[in-house]
Amino acid sequence: MSPAIPILLALALGLIGWLAARSRAWAMRKAVRAEGGELHSLPNYHGWYVGLWAVVPALAFAAVWSSLSPNLVLQQVLSDPAAQGLPAFGIQRDAILAEAQALAGGGGATGFQKGSAALVEPFRAAMHTYAVIGLIVTLVLGFAGGAFAYLRLRPHFTARTRVERAVMVGLLAASLVAILTTFGILASLLFETARFFSVVSPVDFLFGTHWGPDPMSEPSSVSGDRYGAVPLFWGTIFIGAIIAMAVAIPLGLMSAIFLTQYATPLLRKWMKPLLEILAGVPTVVYGYFAALTVAPLVRDFGHMIGVASASSESALAAGLVMGIMIIPFVSSMADDSIAAVPQAMRDGSLAMGATKSETIKKVLIPAALPGIVAGVMLAVSRAIGETMIVVMAAGATARLTANPFESMTTVTFQIVAMLTGEGSFDHPATLSAFALGMVLFLVTLALNFIALRVVKHFREAYE
């Protein structure tokens, strides 16, 4: 039986409850109005009140049940006499159970594992039992909820207030999902990071200058001197915060000034969306643009000006393309904050006999500066977390150098390399990815936090 059936039935119950409550409320309204009174809430709100009571508890149960029932099914199958012949532990036992379950559910599995056929029937029986239990309880809950709500309807019943409160709770739950996810990410990172730091000391990791983890080495013989992450931090900052920003800040700021101050409304209407398309291009597309087009040009240019070490993967190529990618981040924040400077400020300056560019330079930019700075910080946090471009164009060599023509690697690149590498999952080389992720997470969190504070300050100043 498909898990969609209880959900659909619960929704159907809700619809019935909605219609029934609404028509009852209409009838009540007619009766109350005949005596010169009025309902507290419109009939629709009565409908929604009953509908929500019918649907929400039932669906909540269905959700909980769908996560509980597989375990219950397994328990029942294992207690079946047919399960006595299973191997006690290990991969084979799991494989047999999984296959029997797939066969019982009508999946396309073949009877490949010996012994699975005998378990199909117990599985089918158990799944059927629990599905029926789930369906019945769901329906009973839906009906009970609906009936409870329906019986409470009175002319002075405050259905509107209650429905509004339910809407508020729903919205709150939606926003909590995002927040709780952030905490979940942080918790999982923390756990794995702690495992890494139990092998490699944080001091070696944060201040060491040699990065060369060997995923194939014996985990017990790992020492901290191969886990110095400073070259990765430097590569990340050099590419993401220096080269990319050297491209994105001037271009983004100047395009924002042009769009807000010089462009005609028609031109602005066309140019702004076109510029913002840049933000929508998948980063992998930027990646091969960087690797196939920009990187060779950068290398040839390096050779031309006499940098013999210029390589076909370079920090400069990755940084330039990353800078282009984040222009929209800088320009749209700058655009918003320049446009938010009151017209009175602009008029005041122009009326003093200032030219347009003097007004922009001396009044608009200083007044919009907090917003611009916030935009730049968001752009930096975006740039240092960027992965595809550096994977494709920056190279894999951890190197502490200020020569932009050489290949360089970043934190994000190494996270990918370590997690998809050949080491086992609990090897320190693999775990180092979590420590790197943790650093990245904290840095971008700090940048975002500062940016938000700056923007808030800016808003206060212009109320």
Partner: protein, 261 residues
């Protein structure tokens, strides 16, 4: 309708002849002619939307900043057409300063607010000279004693009335010949308003001052010449005392006595 040459014996500072202003298709000002005296305070009064602010903004070409605004007719400053091609708007606005409805100090220090104009026009050769200009301007605007110990504080931290006097000081700092004021007291309380009105009276004679106001009492208190605008036309212009006690036009009389507006 123009009896101005007999009104004042000296040459006018600004002469406007047959001026019409359009916003797109809409005519906001219809065939206005007026002479502005260099010695007096001239008030523009009239109900909201009558075009008095629009007309004020044509006098230093601030309407240029509004997309779709178009000016017809002639406006001359000391006999020179300010709408002729090749007219330097920057120079014009240095000579014809403006104070706005809402105080709009820049988000800079008090000192920098005043120094803004002299800097962009290169009026001060040295830092000492600049400091002198700032002090002189603040003194003329009657703000010096209140702010002399905190010139580095932000201009936006001052009270509304102080901010407006700061804006007047800022306008004075570039030594304009005309100061246009667009309802300078409409965002201020009565005490701050009284202070600004006193200031306008003190400044009279040194600058030609044109003030737009929706308050007839204010026009009566601060001005010597009054123009009454209605529906984009200038209905009547004359000595303030005549306008208020003995208007020639029926519409002026109705407005003065509070029949509409």
């Amino acid at each position: 309708m123009n009896t101005l040459h007999t009104l004042d014996s000296i040459d006018p500072k600004i002469t406007a002849r047959n001026v019409s202003v359009y916003y797109g298709e809409k005519r906001a000002i219809d065939d206005v002619s007026i002479d502005i005296s260099p010695k007096y305070v001239t008030a523009f009064i009239g109900p909201s939307g009558c075009g008095k602010s629009t007309f004020l903004r044509t006098l230093n070409r601030m309407n240029d900043t509004i997309a779709g605004a178009r000016v017809e007719g002639d406006i001359a400053l000391d006999g020179v057409d300010i709408y002729k091609s090749g007219m330097d708007v920057v120079q014009l606005r240095a000579r014809v300063g403006m104070v706005f409805q809402k105080p709009n100090p820049f988000p800079k220090s008090i000192f920098e607010n005043i120094a803004y104009g002299p800097r962009i026009h290169g009026l001060a050769a040295s830092k000492t000279e600049l400091e002198e200009i700032v002090e002189r301007s603040l003194k003329r605007a009657g703000l010096w004693d209140e702010v002399k110990d905190r010139l580095t504080d932000s201009g936006t931290a001052l009270s509304g009335g102080q901010q407006q006097r700061l804006c007047i000081a800022r306008a004075i700092a570039v030594e304009p010949e005309v100061i246009l004021m667009d309802e300078p007291c409409s965002a201020l309380d009565p005490i701050a308003t009284a202070r600004i009105e006193e200031l306008i009276d003190e400044l009279r004679g040194n600058y030609a001052i044109v003030i737009v106001t929706h308050s007839m009492q204010q026009a009566a208190r601060v001005s010597q010449r009054t123009a009454f605008f209605h529906l984009g036309k200038m209905v009547e212009y004359g000595k303030t005392s005549d306008i208020f006690t003995n208007p020639r036009e029926e519409r002026t009389k109705d407005y003065i006595t509070g029949r509409y507006g």
